[in-house]
Symmetry: C2
Subunit: 200 residues, 2 copies
């Protein structure tokens, strides 16, 4: 049985689209998926970008904002919303998701945070947004989760995730890693799954 | 009957892949395709890039050189070659192709120039490379074509193509334009064709 690691960034609409269709593409293949939330910001800074390249490069950004709407529609997702504030910060979402994968609700939380941002059009940058999502899912102990998300342990784990992303050559989101093979972009989900099944 | 304009850059492996599969994707739909060779360089310079972003951004480039080989294989094309010199200059290829579309051999020449670069692994940067391709195709008058390719008329037409690309919001290659709708990347070929058929 093969394995694939799905690297996703909460600010990334293409990561959202990949997240929402991943399980259907995996289907009954038996492929194991490792969900890995991460932050693109530190990697972008190494390229000299202080914000999303979609804001820096105007023509690329203009296509991006149109393309994500078309792609969401293509894959049968609800109309995609982008709030005035793009990109939304993914820091708190990542910290909470790390805890969630320890506790068994990481995937459910990640999808709900994406829906809050890209379907409902709400902010997801703040811890209070994450708390609202936890409460909406009926996950108990959101105060304790918020406290733990601010601890040095979680901060160190998120830094380690960032170091691992860099080591694997990741430069954008979503990314799919199968062994040493890196696939970038929602458009490569099927390729990565095929590769993992071939390697298995 | 709908229409789609295919913007391609001779230095771009993804443009090559799109070119090689375009006719099969169009199939019997009756869709009209306008072939538009252009130069990305002047557009890249507006982003502050003096060469391919795949050379500037190392991690992105590492994925690119692997991905184009996988994608060529995925689409059943011959093993994709990248010479040491990447990107190859597309200036002379563009000028000759413009003449070719006047004279009815532009598409045949464009495909042969791509094969020379990405299948055979030869240089395509120089006029003599274009001449070799013309002679390989049995197109008569390569001396006269080479002369005409250096005229102010052809240079002005190529500048006008660049201005049109910018006006349409094009920032990368390949691009597909259907009315006011811009699709970027080989991965969007099917979307662009579907859009054109829907609009028709």
């Amino acid at each position: 049985m093969g394995s694939l690691t799905f690297w996703y960034e909460f600010a990334s609409p293409y990561s959202y689209i990949a997240m929402m269709r991943l399980e259907e593409v995996i289907g009954g293949t038996g492929l194991e998926v490792v969900y890995q939330p991460f932050l693109l910001g530190p990697l972008f800074q190494e390229s000299g970008w202080e914000t999303s390249p979609f804001l820096i490069y105007k023509a690329k950004g203009q296509h991006f904002f149109r393309d994500i709407v078309r792609e969401a529609d293509h894959y049968g997702l609800p109309p995609l919303q982008i709030r005035d504030e793009f990109p939304q910060g993914g820091l708190y979402g990542c910290r909470v998701a790390l805890i969630g994968f320890d506790e068994g609700w990481g995937l459910e939380f990640s999808k709900a945070l994406y829906r809050r941002q890209f379907v409902e059009g709400f902010s997801t940058s703040r811890m209070e947004d994450c708390v609202a999502v936890l409460e909406g899912l009926g996950i108990a102990g959101s105060d304790e989760i918020a406290r733990r998300a601010g601890t040095d342990e979680i901060k160190a784990r998120l830094r380690a995730v960032g170091a691992a992303a860099k080591e694997k050559g990741i430069f954008g989101a979503p990314s799919f890693v199968v062994g040493d093979e890196l696939f970038w972009g929602n458009d490569r989900l099927e390729r990565a799954v095929d590769w993992a099944l071939k390697e298995a």
